[in-house]
Amino acid sequence: MHEHDVIVVGAGGAGLRAAIAAQEEGADVAIVSKLHPVRSHTGAAEGGINAALREGDSWQDHAYDTMKGSDYLGDAPAIETLAQDSPEEVIQLEHWGMAFSREDDGRVSQRPFGGLSFPRTTYAGAETGHQLLHTMYEQLVKRGIQVYDEWYVLDLAVSDEETPEERSCHGVVGYDVQSGNIEGFHARDGVILATGGPGQVYDHTTNAVANTGDGVAMAYRAGVPIEDMEFIQFHPTTLPSTGVLITEGVRGEGGILYNSEGERFMFEYGYANNDGELASRDVVSRAELTEVNEGRGIEDEYVHLDMRHLGEERIVDRLENIIHLSEDFEGVDPLEEPMPVKPGQHYAMGGVETDENGETCISGLYAAGECACASVHGSNRLGGNALPELIVFGARAGHHAAGRDIGEAQIPTGKRGEWEAGDVETPVAPGAVEPSVEADPSGGDAVADGGPDLDPAGLVERATERATERVEALLDNEDGRNHAEIRAEVQESMTENVNVFRETEGLEQALRDIREAREAYEEVGVADQSRTFNTDLQQTIETRNVIDLAEAITLGALAREEFRGAHWRKEHQERDDENWLKHTLLSWNDGSPELWYKPVLLEGENKRYEPKIRSY
């Protein structure tokens, strides 16, 4: 068994920042990641990082824009923390040598981004995420922080108390992809999940193959509620064939969207009369799909994004890698022709419920980055707000886990504050196929067979044994079903039914498909019998997470009967502040998911944010 003070799961922007923070606090910290850190998907981020750095801008404005962008579903304490901390964190990155784009006076450049009232998106060409990820990994090397790379975390070691709020987390179980060994990692002070987004729930996504939402699924099954899962952001400009993203920066710099008639539809059809192409992502995504659905799409699939009028010099200076992306992945030279684009899954606003210190309702368990939901983004994330989230909340989680006093959190987690029970009618039962038999490795039913008396190391050991059994079972079932088919079916159904436009019938169909997938998964097996680098095994385990999260997204979408931010319901075309100014939460409950709600916190340090109509 490995032992450290703080264990960080995942080495993207959030995980790296958390590890550095914990080390700054003097903790012995280690990162366990299924990918080598520089392979994390943070490296794909293009556009930039929002931070109020300049004269004329203020954190209050940043907070206000974020709240408005969230369609009033963000929690004010989290949003204000983000806006307050991000300038310092961004300058910290600069001090670590990050290669930001520069102004003539040598200061870092900022550009306008959708939904922002000030050009506060700090950037490094069109490869901001790459620069950020590498800069932070460099700091990791400098500090000599230990990384267990290509170790897949299978599960959490959580104690057995009756309610999640009483449980505590003491470590994780890792699977060494290189050798096939399964080993426990005991965390004396805390475990920080930073496993990134669940993009693989959909088949057309800007996310990496590794983004299977493992952390969210693990925490969910260990009893932590997951929040606002129905809010999935679809990015309006992805290349049709691969899902590769064309940054919002193109529109920020002045790129224009045209339909097949050559009309600048954002204005001509009144989708966003003021901001046009720079309207918030959900608005633009829906506009594009409406164009396509109404027959004004190109090849009935996509629209055109044109930036030729910006001139070669400006394009090469600020958006150079877009030229390469478009050429390599779509075969289109954007200096010569407009690029084809369509909406694709991009970002999950929801995730593991945390407070603004990154802590979940299980003590010693933290989450930060895309896998977490402190609720900064509410129902819709503004472009350029995820990277600051990684460094702000990564740092806070790291500091807090290592024992620094960063103040009492104002956001209650678990069923500690105000909450109300929820109810949603489903065509098939959600959750585990046989909830009672399902041996949840870390969940509550463990009371029956282990007793709550195990010491922390014992808990880690027990979790390791269970994970080992599960892996053995998968390997033994050599002729079982291949996970790939099952995953593909879930992905197709999600893209078909739980996309930008959502209607009751489709959502119900998705739940039926997911149920089928669950049943099929009961028979899943791993054909590859090797212990060495068994990606078949790893992906089979990931597919289960994909199924759990697909279901959570769909359940939330079905329950929420309103149109807010990224969540559009055919039957409910209005935002309903009367009934729905609240977060959707799901608790796994040992296999029979429970839906409940908690109110949105609109009371900030700065002011109370009164919901207003969101128009651009």
Binding site: L35, G97, E138
Partner: protein, 296 residues
């Protein structure tokens, strides 16, 4: 020719070597052998079907090797016929082959958009990123092998440890002795200077360059193009200051530093991020010489 440090057998994973003898494993292996033939047959049938169907297919020849699995201990090439669609990349084809024909086909990949650097392989005789290589640009059969000059772990996966070690040997992190006083004050950098280091910051650690360099293949201690480029990124960054530049040049001046480069240019040719590696290495050689001649 051995190009790897020989001390790789001792590892925390050595417990894994006991594993193949465990009962469960034994049982699985036996079953596995039984099924091997059966599955082969099935695969061939499927392949034939795919080939027969009227659609256009691409013929892949893929290197296979697994130190544990009977029949794969001896390396071999497997054939896959993959239905083609416009815009299909080598990575797409590999994924299709794995998901449809043989789930044990193993390779690293993640982002599918040339930023994570995990899928550099030897495709038709050249180091390329699979996700960034269009099938239509290649001659058939498309031969896919793991990166040369690295130890093969399994199928298309190679051991990257040595590459990482070299990358980390050049103090690959920003260092400076004069940060601005204000917490919220950034260091100034001219546009020209950022432009100068820009290309060098693009490296995604894919290892293609290192694999293509004959010198790196021969001299295991050679820092290699990627690590030198990493050092270039800092040496040329004006924010670090002159004193740091001295320190950096001293690292690069070692026997196995910049002097080993014989300007083969193959690193520059294969780099998927178009980093002018040879140019950077040469510039550093001149910097090093200049730096020392100053005092003669």
């Amino acid at each position: 020719m051995s190009t790897q440090l020989p001390d790789q057998t001792e590892d925390e994973s050595s417990a894994g070597e006991a594993e193949p003898t465990s009962a469960a494993q034994e049982r699985r292996m036996a079953k596995k052998r039984e099924r091997a033939a059966e599955r082969d047959e099935q695969r061939q049938a499927e392949e034939a079907e795919a080939a027969l169907a009227d659609e256009e297919t691409y013929h892949l020849k893929v290197f296979r090797y697994d130190p544990e699995i009977e029949g794969k201990k001896e390396p071999r090439f497997d054939d896959f016929h993959v239905p083609y669609h416009k815009g299909m990349t080598v990575l797409d084809a590999l994924m299709y082959a794995r998901d449809t024909y043989d789930s044990s086909l193993t390779f690293r990949h993640s982002c599918r958009q040339a930023v994570c650097g995990s899928d550099a392989m030897f495709v038709n005789g050249s180091q390329r990123l699979c996700c960034k290589t269009q099938l239509s640009d290649l001659d058939e059969p498309v031969r896919i092998e793991p990166l040369p000059h690295a130890e093969v772990v399994k199928d298309l996966v190679v051991d990257m440890e040595h590459f990482y070690d070299q990358m980390e040997a050049v103090e690959p992190y920003f260092q400076t002795n004069d940060l601005p006083d204000g917490e919220l004050e950034e260091q100034r950098q001219s546009r020209e200077n950022r432009e100068k280091v820009k290309m060098s910051t693009r490296c995604i650690w894919c290892g293609a360059c290192m694999s293509s360099c004959n010198i790196a293949a021969g001299d295991n201690e050679y820092l290699g193009p990627a690590a030198i480029n990493k050092a270039y990124r800092f040496t040329m960054d004006e924010r670090e200051g002159e004193d740091m530049k001295q320190q950096r040049l001293e690292i690069l001046e070692q026997e196995h530093g910049v002097w080993r480069c014989q300007t083969q240019f193959s690193c520059t040719d294969v780099c998927p991020k178009d980093i002018p590696l040879t140019e950077h290495i040469q510039e550093l050689k001149r910097e090093a010489v200049k730096n020392n001649l100053k005092f003669w």
